[in-house]
């Protein structure tokens, strides 16, 4: 499978006399392979939108390498841009034009046939409202229009930044189906979103960014497996046997956390080994279940952005890989 998008060591630094230096991107890496739906996750201010804007030539990087469809960007951006459809951040359109005019002008600028305008309006469900001014649209309708504008070119790489933002539940499901259909047709989709359940449902692979650096990447299943910690939940026929079971497993080198009706084990490579140890002590298992983690919990763990009771986390408080004691919480932001 060939890479559609490659980013290596991307750096973007903002300097301010008053607020010092901020590294929005600090050696960020990313790889998206052809035909994938790739999730791009990160807390607010982690550098997602900066990455996308830099990739699309809106922001000049301070270092690093980027390539789209095998061509180095930004140098070759004019050559590959016709194969890249993108929406970046919230949809922004001239408010006094109709949706049809908006798309028609973009099609004109990109030398795309005007017949494509009606096709994408149909695709995103705006056909009947295409003659209305954009300023009368709801956020969800503007989002649909943004997706339509990104699809105008029939791109090979589709970059969607928060495409479900403002959509109603039906719209979110439509967007999910549309994304899947586009990927099935051979299009590569890079999807940035905070709706992690959606990402887990839609995406083949993910990249997680925190404070301008990649903290995790790979196929979704692999990322989840790597961060499940080999946890296993054990229940016994008799609750009164739990202390004896905990003792036996601890002696066998397994980390045990006792709960009132079950035990949680971590660092277990083979669950069958647990059965064997307990059976040897005359203790019989009623449930032995590997604990699965979801993307949300992995994200919160990796970025250290889980809410802590009594604390108010600031925007730039998240994990920075490569710092001493990582993973941990680093104070980013201006002056960092």
């Amino acid at each position: 499978m060939s890479a559609v998008l490659e980013i290596e060591g991307l750096r973007k630094t903002y300097k301010s006399r008053r607020r010092g230096v901020r590294h929005a991107l600090d050696g960020f890496d990313m790889l998206v392979e052809q035909g994938q739906v790739h999730g791009f996750l990160g807390p607010n201010g982690s550098g997602k939108t900066t990455t996308l804007r830099t990739l699309l030539g809106l922001i000049r990087p301070n270092g690093g390498r980027m390539a789209i469809l095998g061509q180095e960007v930004p140098a070759a951006l004019p050559a590959v841009v016709n194969q890249v459809g993108a929406i970046v951040e919230s949809p922004q359109f001239f408010p006094h034009f109709t949706a049809r005019d908006t798309l028609s002008l973009l099609a004109g600028a990109g030398e795309v046939p005007q017949t494509r305008v009606d096709e994408v309006l149909e695709l995103v469900g705006l056909r009947d409202r295409a003659g209305e001014r954009v300023k009368t649209y709801s956020l969800g309708m503007k989002q649909r229009l943004a997706v339509a504008s990104a699809l105008l070119k029939k791109p090979k790489l589709l970059i969607l930044d928060e495409p479900a933002n403002g959509l109603d539940p039906g719209g979110i499901r439509e967007m999910r189906t549309l994304t899947r259909d586009l990927a099935a047709s051979g299009m590569t989709v890079l999807l940035s979103s905070h709706i992690l359940g959606e990402i887990q449902l839609i995406c083949d692979s993910v990249t997680i960014i925190s404070l301008g650096r990649r903290v995790a990447f790979g196929p979704v299943d692999q990322v989840l497996a790597e961060h499940s910690g080999g946890a296993v939940r054990v229940r016994l026929e008799a609750v009164s046997d739990l202390p004896a079971a905990a003792d036996a497993l601890s002696r066998a080198g397994v980390a045990v956390t006792a709960h009132h009706d079950h035990l949680m084990l971590t660092g277990v490579e083979k669950p069958a080994q647990v059965s064997r140890i307990l059976a040897g002590q005359g203790l019989y298992v009623s449930e032995l279940a590997p604990v699965t983690v979801d993307l949300e919990s992995v994200f919160l763990e990796l970025t250290a952005t889980a809410p802590v009771p009594g604390q108010h986390r600031q925007v730039d408080q998240s994990t920075k890989v490569g710092d001493a004691g990582q993973p941990g919480v680093a104070g980013g932001g201006w002056g960092a």
């Binding site: 804007r53 699309l56 809106l58 000049r60 930004p74 922004q92 001239f94 973009l106 004109g108 990109g110």
Partner: protein, 340 residues
């Protein structure tokens, strides 16, 4: 469809551009109609009426002189004049003016002489269209920046300078088209005014050539104003940047500077004011006078003020430098700055 043609389409679809153009054309129309109704053709009836009014004015002067002479004689007889010295030594010196000194042409109604007046009309036309051009130029790119339209466009055409210059080219094409069409109607309109409410006599090819050159300079001024508005708005990435800059330049740079220079006793204060250069550009020369100076020029002690000529060449240097500086800054900014 090319980017250029798309931008022309965009310009045509922009509501503000359409309304501003319409407003400008309405103002021009109002001027034309106003000139039409405040002028009339001079014929035998108007000449006769004017001669009659001149005669009436002469008779009134005769009566006034007679009354004054009598008052003078009475004052001399009573000795009162020695105190206030109101009258001349000899009351016979109070005489009415000669009849020929009151000319009938003073009492003619206003008439539109195309040859004498059309150049002023070209200046008026240019001033209105330059203002409209500045505002449309600023809005055309400023609203694109502030609404996010420019960001969208750059996602499709990631060649920043090409995009900005193509937009400017489309703007200027549209503006020049409207200006030329309006100029044709303006000329035809005033020719009609001259024909129906004045005269179109003595129009030689040289006069037409002179009008054409003035019109060409007007067109250049409209283009410069639109480009400055466009470049300022692009530099500030908002229409308000250009409009605010223009208002600031007028308030601080013109009124303020004018007051300060006057207080400082500077000579030729008008040389610091932009409209003077606009006028110099259009009329080829503006002569400024320093009324604080006095050069005796005749045996009778008549004062002649110092003068300073501002020519269209001076104005062209100012406009060229302003254009290069502002447009250059806008292009550098477009090339260098991040699109956040």
């Amino acid at each position: 469809m090319s980017l250029y043609r798309t931008e022309l389409r965009r310009l045509g679809k922009r509501r503000f551009a359409r309304w501003a153009t319409l407003l400008g054309l309405l103002v021009l129309g109002a001027v034309l109609v106003g000139v039409f109704f405040t002028n009339q053709k001079i014929g035998p009836d108007q000449l006769a009426a004017a001669q009659q009014k001149a005669e009436q004015e002469y008779q009134q002067q005769v009566r006034w002189a007679e009354a004054e002479r009598k008052s003078c004689e009475q004052a001399k007889a009573s000795g009162q004049d020695q105190q206030d010295g109101r009258y001349p030594p000899d009351c016979e010196m109070i005489t009415p003016p000669p009849p020929e000194s009151i000319e009938a042409q003073w009492f003619l109604p206003s008439t539109f002489d195309f040859r004498a007046s059309f150049e002023e009309m070209i200046v008026t036309f240019t001033a209105i269209l330059a203002l409209i051009g500045f505002v449309i130029g600023a809005s055309f790119v400023g609203a694109e920046w502030s609404s996010g339209g420019m960001t969208n466009l750059l996602l499709w055409r990631p060649q920043r300078l090409t995009v900005l210059l193509t937009k400017l080219a489309a703007l200027l094409t549209g503006l020049v088209g409207v200006t030329l069409a309006a100029a044709a109607v303006w000329t035809a309109g005033f020719w009609t005014v001259g024909t129906l409410r004045g005269t179109t006599e003595k129009m030689t090819s040289g006069v037409w050539q002179s009008f054409a050159l003035t019109g060409l300079r007007g067109l250049v001024l409209v283009v410069v104003a639109a480009t400055l508005g466009f470049a300022l708005a692009s530099l500030g990435r908002h229409t308000a940047m250009a409009l605010g800059g223009a208002i600031g330049a007028v308030v601080v740079g013109q009124f303020g500077l004018g007051i300060v220079m006057s207080m400082a006793g500077a000579r030729f204060v008008e040389a610091w004011l932009l409209p003077t250069y606009g006028l110099a550009w259009m009329t080829k020369k503006v002569t400024l006078e320093d009324w604080d100076s006095c050069n005796t020029s005749s045996h009778f002690g008549e004062c002649k003020p110092d003068t300073f000529d501002l020519t269209w060449q001076h104005a062209s240097i100012l406009f060229f430098v302003a254009l290069v500086a502002v447009l250059g800054a806008a292009l550098v900014s477009m090339r260098q700055r991040d699109v956040a």
